[in-house]
Amino acid sequence: MIRIPCPFCGTRDHSEFTYGGDGTIEYPALDAPKEDWHDAVFLRDNVCGMQLETWHHVHGCRMWLLVERDTLTHEIHSVRPAHPGLAAMFETDQEAGE
């Protein structure tokens, strides 16, 4: 059982979360050609090592998170809100704290 430090709730068991998927995907515009959408939806790297992925704290704060996790060791390198605005707020808070 891995444990994920949720920036909103603290460290919680992974059973509170659901796995989303590849966190590096940049989804194309809705009207982008189907080739672009094909690549975004179907092409995935099978990463051995550190991977950026999305997790949803579904039984907690219901926030989507971007998690850097080592697929070999389950070591979690970083967790931040997936929403870029919230992530920026967290960074500002941290800088102010330092």
Partner: protein, 983 residues
């Protein structure tokens, strides 16, 4: 073995005798005994029968590594097989019996299988499955399944009760800074050091007493008690009868606490066991080491056991396990036992495989150097042991000794299992002849003999050091070792070219010859060896035998042990009952039950409920002894004739609010929502990114920036998650807030030509829901008689004039009382899911059975709904060529050709000429249609209704009711123009 209880000594309470039964016979032991020690004191020697050959087995150890005294404990629903008698505490009335034998373990007819043992060698199962040579007789699955039954009956390890488990089990969660596993010299010191440094420490011990190796040494009792007091005084939380059975990621440990397994009188308030999930900052493994045997002929006979076990039975249980004892050793560890056994009155000979003993010879003990046991004689006990010595590369006989007990110490194997769970690969240490714990970057630290440290004082220091490491104060750990004279490794004693029954894995009857046979047949990888011979795959995971097997494999390959490697240990360290894993999540608590706000109201009005996912929903409302078939047909007919009321509260409901709410819905749904006027509802279909249909439902615009979106019951959670994902990860610029309000509303559908007047009769005076005030797809706020505020929308799933009416969940009963009174006086009815299904199938409306994740919006016949003026999720990928093929299965209606016939859901739709294979389509739902007067169905078929206009089709159901000729029709089977719902 002529064991006898001594008059004094041991940790048992001689003033508290305890009666128990063994194979129906009443015996007596003392409080503080284990089942094994009590049986030993009563002179019982044969306690078990082996897995394949049904050989007599007795007590081999005094702990969890036991491979001989494996018994069944308890009766009836509490019968538990494969209990190790060596760790089962004795209690009054304990009822134990031998297993894998008939009529009993002392005289077992199954032992004849030993005569055929050459047929049961390694790979027997696989070879038999391939057929018997020379012509592969019996090849294939059919015959195998026949003799598998016989094999299963002959082999095995006892039988579990078939009755429901009467006990309950708890799940507990805990946290600590430092988890210490094991309470021996190293563990107690580690816990004390960490607690004194201010850490929150949890100490767990699988035994029923704290102390580990201290318990086997009467001289250490004062030290033990002082240390335990200090540990408790320092605030360490101590748990006994608790096994750390597995280590997992991020410091998580699984513990099993046996709460009542040692009690005669069960407290019904107490769980039998507790399953603990502990999150530890650091973990110290002071798990000790297990003494191992080596292979020689008949090394499994009752009366052969480890030297350490004899010391335990003498010092903890006050039993002298034999009178004439031969102790065979390869290392220093047996000499304390030899001295104590001699002092207790036994004749003791130490056969030390090393040419010189490392420790001073105790009084009254004879020593033979350079020899090891070759063979044990005696049928159900030991009568004589033949010795051999190793000269010039081979073994030669070297005398014989009469004895009644043979103690063996082939070396010590540190318990590295738990760190191996974390992927720390054990490392072979040649000078200590054992695997030592591997390294890991996780905060897991071994201490004491589990790190290959043999001297007690060194173990204590190692415990302190491990604690300092665990709290980040020290990086140095103790070095392994501690014997005065080095161990002389020994794995097998065998005369050249002699085939013997020399066991490597006692539980699974794997012999040295089996290992060599596997090698000869090409299973040279240790992982293959394990699977082919089942070495180490018994309930003990090879705690005693694995290393012997690896050593013999290495020898056969001409390699060193580290080059052969070892298999990875997996949790659990000792068996865990399924009941403990399940905890309280059994029976009705296996999954949560969801009730709608109208649940009790429905039951009071005669509903028969059915499960829909986690929900309980009304299935049908039987009247006057109706069955389901009569009830649903009547209900569906009543809806079409007058009015019916149906609980739809389980539909997912999501409040979508904010300035960009309309834009958000416009991107999510395939049809347009940007221009939906306030006070209007719209049916929408949303797709996944890959262009397949995800869900459907209606969305009501309550205000400019406020929408209420409904989803299907099944996908309520999924759609909410999807909305959150889109808003947080993909379109963070949209100013939209979503919240689930599924549980906040009680909702009903009121359908039928008299629905309008039924509702009107329930509203406050002056409320207008006429066709002009509330047209088709209109949404409005109304007040019910008595003042309850409600939302009303004129939407129809049934194809009739119909409304959905929502009130706050707490007012559900009040709404139903009003509506039901008005409907009943108009000849209306309550209807359930079955009639709902009938009405929607008649109309060709889709549900989860049709939207199964494999269909496009075009497949459902609703492709024209998808907007061509705006992009939306899935709009790109739904244009993939494969998804645009005309011969894709498309939604159709199905009539039986002979209208008096019926067909079944799940049937395959085939061309009438080629009723074979997967067919051309499938039936997703059927019903008897009161409106049409015959059975109808809905489903998918290649090319859709147009392609099958003139083509005869068959609904094929070969394994149930057979094939039925059908006609493929438009899915809109009733009122295709929709006059009724617009009226």
């Amino acid at each position: 073995m002529t064991a006898r209880r001594l008059d004094k000594g041991g940790r048992i309470d001689r003033s508290a005798p305890v009666d128990f039964t063994w194979d129906g016979k009443t015996l007596s032991g003392y409080a503080g005994d284990t089942l094994a020690s009590a049986l030993m004191a009563n002179g019982e020697r044969v306690l078990g029968r082996s897995f394949k050959y049904h050989r007599s087995r007795g007590i081999m150890s005094a702990g969890v590594e036991e491979s001989g005294a494996i018994v069944t404990v308890g009766e009836g629903a509490r019968r538990e097989p494969n209990v190790k008698a060596t760790v089962q505490e004795l209690y009054g009335g304990l009822c134990a019996s031998g297993q894998n034998s008939w009529p009993n373990v002392r005289f077992d007819l199954g032992a004849v299988s030993g005569l055929f043992s050459r047929f049961f060698a390694a790979g027997f199962y696989y070879k038999t499955f391939m057929g018997l040579p020379p012509f592969e007789w019996g090849h294939g699955t059919g015959l195998w399944m026949q003799y598998e039954k016989l094999i299963r009956k002959a082999a095995g390890m006892g039988t579990a009760s078939r009755e429901p488990d009467p006990d309950c089990y708890d799940h507990v969660h805990a946290f600590c800074d430092v988890l210490v596993v094991g309470s021996g010299p190293a563990g107690l010191q580690a816990a004390l050091t960490a607690a004194q440094a201010g850490r929150d420490v949890l100490l767990v011990e699988q035994d029923f007493e704290l102390g580990g190796d201290y318990l086997n040494d009467p001289g250490a009792e004062m030290q033990r008690l002082e240390l335990i007091n200090a540990v408790k005084g320092a605030g360490v939380r101590v748990m006994i009868r608790t096994t750390a059975f597995g280590l997992y990621d991020h410091g998580v440990a699984g513990l099993l606490e046996k709460v009542t397994d040692h009690l005669a009188n069960l407290d019904p308030q107490m769980p039998r066991q507790r399953f603990w999930t502990v999150r530890a900052g650091a973990t110290i493994l002071a798990t000790g080491a297990l003494e191992r045997s080596f292979a020689f002929e008949n090394n499994d006979h009752p009366g052969v056991m480890t030297a350490a076990a004899a010391r335990v039975y003498l010092n903890r249980y006050g039993i002298l396990p034999g009178q004439k004892i031969v102790i065979s050793t390869t290392n220093d560890s047996v000499y304390a036992a030899a001295a104590e056994l001699a002092a207790a009155g036994a004749d003791v000979i130490v056969a030390d495989f090393r040419e010189e003993a490392g420790v001073g010879l105790p009084d009254g003990v004879t020593i033979l150097n350079g020899v090891a046991p070759l063979k044990v004689l005696g049928r159900s006990g030991v009568k004589r042991v033949d010795l051999a010595k190793h000269t010039n590369g081979s073994w030669v006989p070297a005398g014989k000794e009469t004895c009644d007990l043979l103690l063996v110490s082939g070396g010590w194997s540190p318990v590295v299992n738990l760190s191996s769970h974390r992927g720390a690969k054990p490392v072979w240490n040649a000078s200590q002849a054992c695997f030592l714990p591997g390294t890991t970057s996780e905060p897991i630290f071994h201490a004491g003999s589990s790190a290959g440290i043999w001297d007690r004082e060194d173990c204590e220091v190692a415990g302190q050091r491990a604690a300092r490491q665990a709290i980040g104060e020290n990086k140095k750990s103790s070095q392994p070792g501690g014997w005065k004279t080095p161990i002389r490794p020994l794995y097998e004693v065998r005369l050249p070219n002699q085939q013997t029954k020399a066991f490597v894995d006692f539980q699974h009857d794997v012999t040295g010859d089996d290992v060599r046979l596997a090698n000869q047949e090409g299973f040279v990888s240790v992982e293959h060896l394990k699977r082919y011979t089942t070495l180490g795959m018994a309930t003990d995971q090879g705690k005693m035998g694995n290393i012997i097997g690896l050593a013999l494999m290495a020898d056969a390959l001409g390699k060193d042990i580290p080059d052969v490697g070892t298999t990875r240990f997996r949790p659990p360290y000792t068996p865990v009952a399924i009941g403990a894993l399940a905890g309280r999540n059994v029976a009705a608590h296996f999954k949560p039950l969801r009730r709608t706000p109208l649940h009790d109201w429905n039951l009071r009005h005669g509903a028969t409920m059915t499960e829909a996912g986690l929900w309980h929903r009304p299935w049908y409302f039987a009247r006057n002894g109706e069955g389901i078939d009569e009830a649903y047909v009547r209900e569906a007919a009543t809806v079409r004739k007058s009015v019916g009321i149906c609980d739809v509260s389980s539909l997912g409901k999501i409040a979508v609010q904010g300035p960009d709410a309309a834009e958000f819905l416009n991107r999510v749904y395939s049809n347009g929502f940007a221009k939906l006027p306030v006070g209007k509802a719209r049916y929408g279909i949303m797709l996944r990114d890959d262009g397949m249909v995800m869900d459907d439902g209606t969305t009501w615009r309550l205000a400019d920036t406020e929408f209420l979106t409904t989803t299907t019951t099944t996908n309520a959670g999924k759609v909410m998650v999807r909305f959150e994902e889109l808003l947080q990860t993909r379109w963070p610029d949209l100013k939209v807030h979503v919240s689930s309000v599924s549980d906040q509303w009680a909702g009903v559908s009121i359908a039928g030509p008299k629905s309008r007047e039924t509702i009107a009769a329930c509203l406050e005076h002056g409320a207008d829901i006429s066709n002009e005030a509330l047209p088709f797809m209109g949404v409005s706020r109304v007040t019910l008689s008595g003042g309850v505020e409600a939302l009303i929308a004129r939407i129809s799933f049934s194809g009739e004039l119909a409304y959905e009416l929502y009130v706050q969940a707490g007012y559900g009963d009040a709404m139903m009382d009003l509506l039901w009174h008005a409907a009943e006086t108009r000849g209306g009815c309550l209807y359930g899911l079955e009639a709902l299904g009938t009405l929607r199938i008649e109309k060709g409306h889709v549900t989860g059975a049709e939207l199964d994740g494999r269909v496009t919006i075009d497949d459902t016949g609703l492709g024209k709904m998808a907007s061509t003026k705006k992009p939306f999720i899935g709009s790109s990928l739904r244009q993939r060529p494969e998804l645009l093929r005309e011969d894709r299965p498309q939604l159709v209606g199905i009539f039986p050709k002979d209208r008096s016939q019926r067909f079944k859901g799940g049937s395959l739709l085939c061309d009438a000429d080629t009723v074979t294979g997967f067919g051309e389509g499938w039936v997703t739902g059927v019903t008897h249609s009161p409106a049409l007067g015959h059975w109808i169905g809905i489903g998918y078929i290649s090319g859709g209704a147009e392609a099958w206009k003139e083509r005869p089709a068959v609904a094929a159901d070969p394994v149930r009711s057979g094939n039925v000729d059908v006609e493929i029709v438009s899915p809109h089977m009733f009122d295709p123009t929709g006059e009724r719902m617009h009226g």
